[in-house]
């Protein structure tokens, strides 16, 4: 598989988490998204916040999120991201796909349930 593929899978997962976060919380800046993801994962994920920014840029390039400069709670200029309609559709599709994959795998990994 190699590191490169792992990186791709991770980026895909991260992207999905970002979309979900924005869907749940509305427009948010980069720091807020990072914090929220860490919280939601129950601190199981411990990654450098820096990895978020390239992912945010890619999502914006692909048109799933849009950005706007605003004022943060520190009264400082910050960049806020929000979900686009395309992004929402993508989120719905990805969620469905993940749930389906999980279900199929579950049947494979727990064969007794299938037999009975």
């Amino acid at each position: 598989m190699g590191d490169h593929d792992k990186q791709d899978v991770w980026q895909g997962t991260l992207a999905l988490m970002v979309l979900k976060t924005l869907h749940a919380l509305g427009p948010l800046h980069g720091y807020g998204i990072a914090r929220r993801i860490e919280q939601t994962s129950g601190d199981l994920l411990s990654v450098n916040y820096g990895t978020l920014y390239p992912a945010l840029l890619k999502l914006e390039q692909d048109g799933y999120i849009s950005s706007e400069w605003g004022i943060s709670e520190n009264n400082r200029k910050a960049r806020f991201y929000k979900l686009t309609r395309t992004g929402r559709r993508r989120l719905e599709k990805e969620t469905r796909d993940w749930e389906q994959t999980t279900a199929i795998l579950a049947r494979f990994l727990n064969p007794e349930e299938g037999r009975s």
Binding site: H29, N48, Y49, G50, P54, D62, K77, A78
Partner: protein
């Protein structure tokens, strides 16, 4: 759609560097700020808060770098970076860059030029539809010869074959065509009925020949080529407005061929073959034949079909036909077969040349890379992968290669136009040789290949030094690996051997040319014009004499004209030679009865009586068996004044005078070598010669004069024995005539005056003007062309070798910097250092020269036919080339040697 959108976004970012930088800086600053606030709120100290925030971010620079990579086109950007770096490297060492570019220009230019010719002549398909179906046919006789077709054989092959969809016969030659009152001599081709079907090309304007126009003695009609129509006829769309005359007969123009169609052999005019008579003999080989194979049939299937026809014809007609088989060959092969081998050899040689050029450039770049070893190792240590370094090298060599390639193609274009003008007309399809898209693609392909090869060569060689060693500079003192040095020197030596062989060849050919120029042609060239005329077939011999007499009188009376003379052929003019066997006999040997028969043969009344005819020919056959009185000589029909005009010296007796008329005794003037050969002991004057087989006139010729030898056919061949006769007494074979006009003034007034005189006497005659000087130098054209080619090749090879020597020496000096520094520090003087470097170069050169001498001596012996009065091991040439080569080697090694003396021992040793 997503990837496209992303790509577009990235592309836009290529040009927004600064804005992007500001954005990400602001965003990250805001992020860190927010994090710090949070940390402060949870009770950390300001310093701790900041540190924790930065740690959690994962390194600002790293994040920025990752961000940048996603933002733009990393590949494009790093390639741009490589390019900037490469250009900077080149600017830093312009001398090296220049040498490398010139070397590549040479290699690429040579390859482009040769490939252009190769492509145009051999690879490019013929400009006809389905050219693979087109074939050329010849008869085959029982001696294996392949003569042209005769009419009856052609007709039978046409009727009986099962493998051809169309077949046509044709011939071609220059024909006098007049348009209005101006005359031209375009190549005209008579073509048979199915010619358009064979060629597959229709006239673009007008029509083809109609059946009414294609029979014997029909009024001539013509189809004309595009360029003839545009340039000579004016390009009018109304074909009936042209008033053309072919050989004096009015001909209507019925069609115009599309541009570029000029088959066969640059023809400009086509007429129906059928208007000329049919020759019923099966051994009158008058026609060339071309055919188109039937669909689905190839040459292998057609061959047995045609052979069967030939065999059945031979069976049916026996001795009447000499054809025993039919030779069939693809048209492309027929047109280009004779040069194919030569071109392939040339192409291989040029590829070899290119390989040498590439290896030289690799050495040049390595010489530079050796100095950059430290920089490269640092880059490797900082994490640049081997691939990245390779890309750097390839980029550098690509820049060199592109610039060199641009120069090379330009040089090839310029050189090719010049070379083609010099080339002998025997190179087929010359008009199709031009630098076009396939050739440019080929050149570009070579350029890229070179770039990759050179880059990889450099990268491989410099990466084989491990980073630790380079950083320690330990290798500097060691000097270059001796094995690698040896390999480089051997390569240089091989190049020098090649150069030596080429230079010796050029030198020998040059000396040959000089020798040929010093040959005495036997006549004086000087300031003389020539005028050549074709006399039409319907002018009978008596009329010819009248015409020529009149022309001579009028030409001689022109102001400024000193002398006028002429003959059927002039010396050194390539053309058919008339020669044969003669017999020395005295009039007493001819009985009165024989004299009567001779008279009747002249009148033409002998042909009807076979018995008398046999007696007549038996008599002469008997004579010719007498070896002692027989001889071979050239037969030249000339005029009074010929020898005087050409300043051919008269050695004995007299030349042709007014008293030599058609009614007086037939006289002849012979050349000195003939006099020496046949009459070594006594006077040839007064002897009588029988040479009737040359023109059918059996009257004896009396020798009245002996003249100096003349080089008739070429300056290099020995002078042949010649028997000259006067045209007034022997006009039968004078179908063409050349005048030599020696004048004192400017030639132009004589040109127009002479043209007027000719037109006045007979408007059908088209004079062609030339000069003796031009004819003389023209006879040297082939030799000059070969010499030019060899000289160009040797110069190119020499330049290449010199660049290689420069490169190898520069590399060696760079590798030995430490050693040279030590020597200098220990007191070695500049001249001692230089001598050390040069000595090595000269030793290599001497070794190469010795091998070169042996190789040249062996090779030139094989090509002795190219030399003229020069020994293949001519010591003057060999020693001159040796000295020149040594000088060139020293010159090429001079700069690196000088640089070696400039090495500051302090700097060299500091890197210890």
């Amino acid at each position: 759609m997503r990837p496209l959108r992303a790509t577009w976004a990235r592309a836009r970012n290529l040009f927004r560097n600064q804005k992007l930088e500001r954005q990400i800086e602001d965003e990250l600053a805001a992020h860190v700020d927010l994090h710090i606030s949070d940390n402060l709120r949870s009770g950390m100290s300001p310093a701790e808060a900041r540190r924790s925030a930065l740690l959690k971010l994962g390194g600002i620079e790293q994040t920025k770098e990752n961000y940048r990579e996603t933002a733009g086109f990393p590949t494009v950007e790093s390639v741009a970076q490589d390019l900037r770096f490469a250009l900077r490297m080149l600017r830093k060492s312009p001398g090296l860059a220049t040498v490398a570019i010139l070397t590549l220009a040479l290699g690429i230019g040579a390859n482009t030029a040769i490939f252009t010719v190769f492509y145009g002549v051999l690879l490019r398909p013929l400009p006809f539809p389905k050219p693979e179906q087109m074939v050329q046919l010849h008869e085959v006789n029982d001696r294996g010869g392949q003569p042209n077709f005769s009419d009856p054989n052609f007709e039978d092959v046409q009727a009986k074959n099962h493998s051809l969809q169309a077949i046509a016969e044709y011939n071609l030659g220059p024909e006098v065509i007049s348009v209005g009152d101006v005359s031209f001599r375009p190549i005209t081709s008579a073509v048979s009925r199915d010619f358009p079907r064979v060629m597959g090309v229709q006239p673009m304007l007008g029509r083809g020949f109609s059946p009414e126009e294609q029979h014997f003695n029909a009024a001539p009609v013509a189809i004309v080529s595009y360029s003839f129509w545009k340039q000579i006829l004016g390009g009018s769309q109304d074909l009936s407005s042209f008033h053309l005359k072919i050989g004096g007969r009015p001909a209507a123009v019925v069609g115009i061929m599309p541009p570029g169609f000029r088959f066969p052999g640059n023809a400009d005019l086509w007429v129906p073959r059928e208007i000329y008579e049919r020759y019923p003999s099966r051994t009158a080989h008058n026609w060339q034949v071309i055919a188109r194979l039937a669909d689905g049939i190839d040459i292998a299937r057609a061959r047995p079909d045609l052979s069967t026809i030939a065999r059945s014809l031979k069976q049916q007609y026996g001795q009447d036909t000499s054809m025993t088989d039919v030779a069939i060959e693809s048209l492309h092969s027929a047109m280009t077969g004779n040069v194919r081998l030569g071109l392939v050899v040339l192409l291989i040689a040029s590829v070899f040349f290119l390989l040498i050029a590439c290896s030289n450039v690799v050495n040049l770049m390595l010489a530079q890379a050796a100095a950059r070893q430290q920089e490269l190792s640092i880059r490797a240590a900082l994490g640049a992968g081997a691939g990245r370094l390779l890309r750097q090298f390839v980029t550098e060599s690509l820049v060199l290669s592109l610039i060199g390639g641009a120069f090379g193609v330009a040089a090839a274009f310029w050189g090719l136009t010049g070379l083609l003008r010099l080339a002998p007309a025997t190179l087929p399809r010359l008009e199709e040789v031009s630098i076009n898209v396939p050739v440019l693609l080929f050149s570009f392909g070579i350029v890229v290949l070179i770039a990759v090869a050179v880059g990889m060569g450099c990268a491989w060689k410099s990466l084989s030094v491990s980073p630790e060693n380079a950083l320690n500079e330990g290798s500097r003192l060691q000097g270059a690996a001796p094995r690698r040095q040896m390999a480089l020197r051997v390569m240089i030596a091989v190049q020098l051997v090649t150069v030596m062989v080429l230079l010796v060849g050029a030198g020998l050919m040059g000396r040959s040319l000089v020798r040929v120029l010093s040959v005495d042609p036997g006549f004086t060239v000087g300031n003389a014009l020539t005028m050549e005329l074709d006399l039409p077939n319907d002018v009978n011999p008596a009329r010819r004499v009248q015409l020529l007499n009149e022309l001579f009188t009028r030409l001689r009376s022109l102001p400024g004209v000193e002398q006028v003379g002429g003959g059927r052929l002039l010396p050194l003019f390539s053309g058919s030679r008339a020669d044969g066997s003669f017999v020395v006999m005295n009039p007493g040997q001819i009985s009165p009865r024989m004299r009567d028969l001779i008279q009747r043969s002249l009148e033409g009344s002998l042909d009807s009586d076979p018995v008398l005819l046999k007696e007549f020919s038996d008599f002469f056959e008997e004579l010719f068996r007498d070896r002692e009185h027989m001889g071979d000589a050239d037969y030249r029909v000339v005029s009074q004044g010929y020898f005087e005009t050409l300043r051919i010296p008269v050695l004995k007796g007299r030349l042709f005078e007014d008293r030599d008329t058609p009614d007086s005794q037939s006289v002849a003037v012979i050349s000195d070598s003939l006099a020496q050969q046949k009459w070594p002991d006594h006077d040839p004057l007064g002897q009588t010669i029988e040479f009737g087989n040359m023109d059918g006139d059996p009257r004896l010729l009396m020798v009245v004069g002996v003249v100096g030898d003349v080089r008739e056919s070429s300056l290099e061949a020995a002078p042949r024995p010649v028997i000259y006769v006067d045209y007034r007494q022997r006009p039968q074979t004078v179908s063409e005539f050349s005048f030599v006009i020696r004048n004192s003034g400017v030639p132009v007034p004589v040109f127009s005056a002479a043209r007027e005189i000719v037109r006045d006497l007979d408007p059908r005659l088209v004079p062609r003007f030339n000069s003796l000087a031009h004819i003389y130098s023209g006879s040297l054209d082939a030799r000059r062309f070969s010499l030019t080619l060899v000289a160009i090749f040797s110069a190119a090879a020499l330049l290449l070798a010199m660049a290689g020597i420069y490169g190898v020496n520069a590399y060696s000096v760079a590798q030995r910097t430490g050693e040279i520094g030590v020597r200098t520090a220990l007191g070695a003087s500049a001249s001692e250092i230089m001598t050390m470097i040069l000595k090595q170069a000269v030793f290599t050169a001497l070794a190469a020269i010795i091998v070169g001498i042996l190789a040249s001596a062996a090779l030139t012996r094989l090509s002795q036919s190219l030399l003229f009065e020069v020994s293949p091991v001519d010591p003057v040439t060999f020693s001159a080339v040796t000295i020149f080569l040594l000088f060139a080697v020293v010159l090429a090694s001079w700069l690196p040697a000088r640089r070696a003396t400039r090495i500051d021992p302090m700097i060299a040793l500091r890197y210890q």
